[in-house]
């Protein structure tokens, strides 16, 4: 006999609870084997094994390390993707950093892997699976953190990737072509009062690879014969700081960067200095404006010293638009799990300064990217640590599974409603064309 929707949810929750220990073990195992984006070989293997165990067919090596597992419901219908990110950051002083590489899960992605397997367990309960009108597509995606740009550009040159992040590549490769709706939950260190927070937006961004080219000379005996690329970079970076008050608060512009090569030997005038800059903003216009200011400051640095500068612009992420209707469904499930007072909602204009490639996906389909607490410390910091696996992994898995049940049962009425009510910001083709148009190289010569 057919179970009612509440009974389906109860069954899914029970299945998740039953394997709670295994899910946490998986998250811990990922935590202890941190790997940076597009290099998540061990993590990918672990996820593949887990899907094998659960009994869901999958494909691997998508965008190098990505995995896609498809759970088909009882009847055809819309496809809902549940995403988990595999990659770690480079935070060498994190407690769980890999001592040889300095790589660490300082953004809690390891719990996301636990979450998608939890959802898979919950929805694989035969009664639940058969009650779904549509497909659930589990994706373990590589490379959400937009780092190691030079390395990624290198593998892009080799043709191994086309865009520099995991979800971008999944889109480009057509892996989202049959997906209608996508969801994931990110961890956070927000307070007890906000075990889940929904809505809000994120900054979009782009990346600037800047190379100052000067002329080497003996720093002690002939500095007048050199052109100091490091000084050019300093002038450029200081100039950048003077622009900050020209950004409207509502644009939440962030201009920041690191020097990836600041000179090779102190007794030689640095002739090649590299700066990796990030331009973030709430809208494409504000990103473009801030990016042009970064460009002119870097050129000014070169001009001041009589150096050259090469600026390579790499498309980053779009600002996220969380789907309101999908958010409401998720909120109901979250509320049932943790109580109304522990679920908070951010207005769609409330920005988080960071960026995610879930923003890219949100341009072409309805998505949500809520946050689940359960961590302490600063995201991307040395002290970002799980405090409560129930809150950071188990509840989110349950909430996602419940939301899928809401979406895809009863002839997938709710999923279809979301698809009707939500407007798509752009087509996949438009998205890819926009990203491609941002790739550029600009050489400014003053040497």
């Amino acid at each position: 006999m057919m179970l009612g929707i509440d009974e389906l949810k109860t069954a899914a929750i029970a299945a998740i609870d039953q394997r709670r220990g295994w899910l946490i073990e998986i998250a811990e195992s990922v935590l202890r084997n941190p790997e940076v984006g597009f290099q998540e070989a061990k993590t990918s293997r672990l996820v593949a094994d887990a899907f094998s165990q659960i009994g869901i067919p999958y494909r691997d090596q998508i965008a190098i390390t990505g995995i896609k597992a498809v759970l088909s419901g009882g009847r055809p219908g819309p496809a809902v993707a549940i995403l988990g990110e595999m990659d770690a950051l480079r935070v060498p002083d994190h407690r769980y950093s890999d001592p040889s590489t300095g790589v660490a899960h300082a953004c809690g992605h390891n719990c996301q892997i636990g979450m998608i397997l939890g959802v898979a367990l919950g929805l694989s309960v035969p009664e639940v699976r058969d009650a779904l009108d549509g497909q659930v597509i589990f994706m373990a995606v590589p490379a959400e953190e937009f780092i190691d740009i030079e390395e990624r550009l290198r593998i892009r040159e080799n043709g191994q990737i086309g865009l520099l992040s995991g979800k971008q590549e999944f889109i480009r490769l057509g892996e989202f072509d049959e997906v209608d709706i996508a969801m994931m939950v990110h961890t956070s260190a927000t307070s007890e009062h906000s075990k889940f927070s929904l809505g809000g937006t994120s900054n979009g961004h782009l990346v600037k690879q800047v190379e100052f080219i000067g002329k080497s000379a003996h720093s002690g005996s002939a500095p007048h014969q050199g052109v100091n690329a490091l000084q050019a970079a300093m002038v450029g970076m200081n100039a950048l700081n003077t622009q900050r008050e020209t950004f409207a608060e509502s644009d939440t512009v962030r201009l920041h960067g690191i020097i990836t090569d600041g000179g090779r030997s102190v007794n030689s005038v640095p002739s090649s200095v590299r700066y990796e800059g990030r331009v973030r903003g709430a809208t494409s216009e504000s990103i473009a404006d801030a990016a042009s200011k970064m460009d002119r400051c870097m050129k000014a640095g070169a001009l001041a010293l009589g150096a050259n500068v090469k600026i390579t612009t790499i498309p980053g992420y779009f600002p996220i638009k969380n789907d309101r209707w999908l958010g409401e469904l998720f909120k109901e499930s979250a509320t049932r799990l943790v109580g109304r007072s522990s679920v908070s909602e951010l207005g769609n204009s409330v920005g988080r300064g960071g960026s995610t490639d879930m923003g890219d996906l949100s341009q072409i389909m309805p998505v949500i990217h809520p946050y689940a607490s359960g961590f302490t410390g600063l995201g991307h910091g040395r002290d970002y640590m799980v405090r409560d696996y129930d809150q950071a992994l188990i509840y989110p898995a349950k909430a996602l599974a419940m939301t899928v049940i809401d979406l895809l049962t009863a002839q997938a009425e709710k999923a279809k409603e979301v698809l009707v009510k939500s407007d798509r910001l752009m087509t996949k083709a438009r998205y890819l064309a926009l990203q491609e148009s941002i790739f550029s190289e600009d050489l400014y010569e003053s040497l």
Binding site: H224, Q243, K293, A304
Partner: protein, 446 residues
């Protein structure tokens, strides 16, 4: 005409200067009390003119606006020796002799130069002296040696009242130096700079160009809408950083000095500054050194404008050329100064990174610019005062007058020897072309 020996001539020159010493020192002190910056020396100019009249010295005035040129004729024809006295003061807040209204102050001792120039005049007017000399002495009271108030002077330039912003370049251009063959002057200094000597000779000086800079942005409410403005003060800041970032590319022996000031840094703090102005000098030991450094300064200024998306106007004015003191003229001077101050008290000086338009004169004729260590305190500082007027006016005047006697006696043979040994780096027309080539106006930006 009674024929006198050179020693007899020098003795009567010295006696006459000594006799009128108090009067000459009073003249210097009178000027000290009424300081006027360059191209504004109306009172000082009138006062010097009055002294020329009292001495029955024919003179022209209004050369380079406020300059004067008096001439003493020798008994027979021959070369002309120019003796400079600079009319202008500085502007130094808190100087003990500063004008309470204008803050003008003789913090570089130029007032003493008028005293020692007139000492030369009275000495050579001693009975029997001039008639024994072959040639002439031009007494050149020049305006504006200090290269300051660039905006004011550049406005005079734009109005066509000046072409160059210093007194001696204007004298050269006007033709006032055309009949002068060699030149000298005596500047005051403190004993640190003369290495404890009483008189220092042979110093070299940096040359320089000056820049008047205007950053143009877009004004906007600094609180309400800074994103609609373009901040010209930030442009200036970045430009300054750009200049500083290049300092290690200046070679030590080029003694480059770049020292800007902001003459207008914004109008109201609540408005994004849209018009910010700076002045700077770019100094260096050789013409190549400072013109090359000036290019680095220009690109840093452009970078400031570029970085904020604004504009910059750079007006370059030609400044002063480096000095080269004529060695033969120096040795003649030294021979005359030594008996006055004692053996070992005339010392050779090294390079000085300041600038003087005597450098310009030295490009076109043999010139010397000795220093009399009569002052204490830091030159151009609020504590620079002439203490030893006897040395600054009387002794300095005697040393120059005696040198002139050596130059112009014996049919001016020593002067002619100095002139014939001297290879001018530039002719007057080359000098003027060079100065004009340095002048430029550039506007750069979006």
């Amino acid at each position: 005409m009674s024929k006198m020996t050179v020693d007899e001539i020098k003795a009567s020159v010295a006696a006459e200067i000594d006799r009128r010493s108090d009067e000459l020192i009073d003249i210097a002190k009178h000027i000290l009390a009424k300081p006027e910056p360059g191209f504004r020396e109306q009172k000082t100019s009138k006062y010097v003119g009055d002294q020329f009249e009292k001495l029955n010295i024919p003179f022209e005035s209004g050369i380079g606006l406020t300059g004067l040129k008096g001439v003493l004729e020798g008994g027979s024809s021959g070369p002309t020796v120019g003796v400079f006295g600079e009319l202008d003061s500085l502007i130094v807040l808190g100087h003990p002799h500063a004008d309470s209204l204008t803050n003008a102050a003789h913090a570089c001792g130029h007032h003493a130069q008028i005293g020692n120039m007139l000492a030369v005049a009275v000495g050579l007017q001693a009975p029997g002296v001039l008639e024994n000399l072959s040639g002439r002495v031009a007494l050149l009271a020049v305006p504006a040696e200090e290269y300051i108030e660039i905006e004011y002077r550049d406005d005079l330039r734009v109005e066509g009242k000046l072409e160059f912003l210093g007194g001696k370049p204007e004298f050269i251009k006007s033709g006032a130096m055309d009949d002068v063959d060699l030149a000298m002057m005596t500047h005051t200094e403190n004993r640190d700079w003369t290495h404890d000597g009483t008189i220092g000779v042979g110093a070299t000086n940096n040359g320089m160009v000056a820049k008047r800079i205007q950053f143009l942005g877009v004004a906007s409410h600094a609180g309400g809408s800074p994103h609609l403005g373009t901040n010209a003060l930030n442009a200036a800041n970045i430009a300054l950083m750009g200049i500083h970032a290049q300092r290690e590319t200046f070679r030590d022996h080029d003694t480059i000095r770049v020292h800007p000031i902001i003459t207008q840094g914004g109008i109201a703090v609540s408005s994004v500054p849209a018009d910010v102005r700076m002045e700077t000098f770019v100094r260096g030991r050789t013409i190549d050194a400072y013109t090359s450094a000036a290019k680095k300064v220009d690109r840093a200024l452009r970078a400031g404008a570029m970085a904020v998306g604004g504009r910059v106007k750079i007006t370059t004015v030609s400044g002063y050329a480096p000095i080269q003191q004529d060695p033969l003229l120096t040795s003649i001077y030294e021979m005359n100064a030594t008996p006055l101050v004692g053996d070992g008290n005339v010392v050779q000086m090294g390079h000085r990174s300041g600038s003087t338009d005597m450098g310009d004169v030295s490009q076109v004729m043999p010139a010397i610019h000795p220093y009399a260590a009569a002052a204490t305190g830091k030159a151009h500082g609020d504590d620079y005062v002439v203490e030893d007027y006897e040395l600054a006016v009387t002794t300095a005047g005697k040393a120059m007058a005696h040198t002139i006697v050596d130059l112009l006696s014996e049919n001016g043979s020593r002067a002619n020897e100095v002139i014939s040994r001297f290879t001018p780096p530039m002719t007057k027309s080359q000098y003027l072309a060079f100065m004009r080539s340095l002048q430029s106006e550039e506007e750069y930006g979006e």
